[in-house]
C-alpha cells in the first residue's frame, strides 16, 4: 500500500492528514481498478470479429445518457465529500491557529536556517534572544508557533514527520503552528528551489522533554554570552 511509506507521524494532526490521504487513496483506488478493468474487458470483449458489426449509438438519447448522469452525480457527491474532509484538515492546520505555548522565529536565508527564541519580553532583537543555527529544539507536547521570514528568496519549511509544510516568503511574515507527541530527532528540509545550495539547506528538529529543552536553552545562552 502506498501510504505505508509515509514517514511516522509525530504531531497531533499528522493522523488527520494521513487519514485524508488514505481516504482519497481508497476512493481513487476503487475508480482505478474499475476503469482499468472495464477497459481491459472491453478490449477483449469487443475485438473485431468477422461478421459482427459495431452497435450504433450516439449517446444523444436520455436512455443512453442516464448512466453517465448518474455517474456524474456520484462523482460530484464524492468531490464535495473530499472537499469537506480536506477543508477540515486545512482549517485545523492553516486557518485557525490555536493558542500556542512557544513562539519561535524562523529566519531562512540562502542556504541556512536560524531559529530565534524570544527573550522574556517577547522580543526577537534583544541580546537575550537566543538564536540557534540549523537546530530547532521544541518541547514535546507543546503547541509551537513559528513565524517564518526569509532574508532573500523563497524557501520552504518542511517537517516531514510533523506533516507541516509552509513556504517562507521574503517580505512577509507567515505564521504557522505545530505540535509534537514524541521525543526524538527529526528532519527539517527546504522544499522550494532556492539556488545552488538548495540541496544542503537542512536542519534538525529536536523534540525534547521539558527538562532537556530548558537545559538546552541555558546551554545555548551560555554559549552565546561567553559563559557570563
Amino acid at each position: 500500500m502506498l501510504f505505508e511509506y509515509l514517514p511516522q507521524g509525530i504531531s497531533s494532526f499528522s493522523g488527520d492528514i494521513d487519514n485524508l490521504i488514505r481516504f482519497i487513496y481508497l476512493l481513487t483506488g476503487i475508480f482505478f481498478f474499475a476503469f482499468e478493468g472495464f477497459l481491459i474487458y472491453m478490449i477483449f470483449r469487443y475485438r473485431q470479429k468477422k461478421g459482427v458489426k459495431a452497435q450504433y449509438g450516439k449517446g444523444d438519447k436520455w436512455t443512453e445518457v442516464q448512466w453517465v448522469v448518474a455517474f456524474v452525480a456520484v462523482i460530484v457527491c464524492l468531490d464535495f465529500f473530499i472537499d469537506y474532509k480536506s477543508t477540515k484538515v486545512w482549517d485545523l492546520l492553516k486557518v485557525n491557529r490555536p493558542v500556542t505555548d512557544v513562539d519561535i522565529k524562523v529566519v531562512a536565508k540562502q542556504f541556512d536556517w536560524t531559529f530565534i527564541y524570544p527573550d522574556k519580553n517577547g522580543s526577537y532583537d534583544s541580546a537575550d534572544a537566543l538564536s540557534s543555527y540549523r537546530e530547532l529544539h521544541v518541547p514535546v507536547g507543546k503547541k509551537i508557533h513559528v513565524i517564518l521570514t526569509s532574508k532573500d528568496v523563497i524557501h520552504d519549511f518542511f517537517l516531514p514527520e510533523v506533516r507541516l509544510k509552509q513556504d517562507v516568503m521574503p517580505g512577509r511574515e507567515i505564521h504557522a503552528w505545530f505540535d509534537t507527541t514524541q521525543v526524538g530527532t527529526y528532519h527539517i528540509v527546504c522544499n522550494e528551489l532556492c539556488g545552488f545550495g538548495h540541496t544542503r539547506m537542512l536542519a534538525v528538529l529536536h523534540v525534547d522533554d521539558e527538562k532537556t529543552y530548558e537545559n538546552w536553552k541555558v546551554q545555548l545562552y551560555k554559549q552565546m554570552h561567553g559563559g557570563v
Partner: protein, 97 residues
C-alpha cells in the same frame, strides 16, 4: 467591402471624445472627497472607451462572436484582480528581519 465605420459620424465622436478627455483632466483638479474623484474619473474614462469601441472600432455592428471575444477577456481580468486582492493587496510588507 461594406465597412462598419463609415456609418459613424466621426467628427461628432471626435468632439465628444475631446470634451470628455478635457473634463476628465479637469475633474482631477476638483479634489472631490473620498473616492468620488476616482469614480468620476473612471466613469468618464469608461464613457470614452465605449465611444471608441462602439463608433471607431465598429463594435456596434458586430455579432455575438466578437462581443464574446471582447467580454471574456474582461471577465478574466475581473477574476484575476478580484481573486488576487485578498492575497496581494491585503498583505503589508515585513522587511525588518
Amino acid at each position: 467591402m461594406n465597412l462598419s465605420t463609415s456609418k459613424s459620424n466621426h467628427e461628432l465622436v471626435y468632439i465628444a471624445l475631446v470634451i470628455l478627455a478635457l473634463v476628465t483632466v479637469g475633474s482631477s483638479f476638483l479634489h472631490l472627497p473620498g473616492n468620488t474623484g476616482v469614480y468620476v474619473i473612471f466613469a468618464l474614462a469608461l464613457s470614452q472607451a465605449f465611444l471608441v469601441a462602439l463608433q471607431y472600432m465598429g463594435l456596434k455592428i458586430e455579432g455575438f462572436m466578437v462581443y464574446a471575444l471582447m467580454i471574456i477577456p474582461l471577465i478574466l481580468f475581473a477574476i484575476f484582480v478580484f481573486l488576487c486582492i485578498p492575497d496581494i493587496a491585503h498583505y503589508p510588507l515585513h522587511l525588518n528581519i
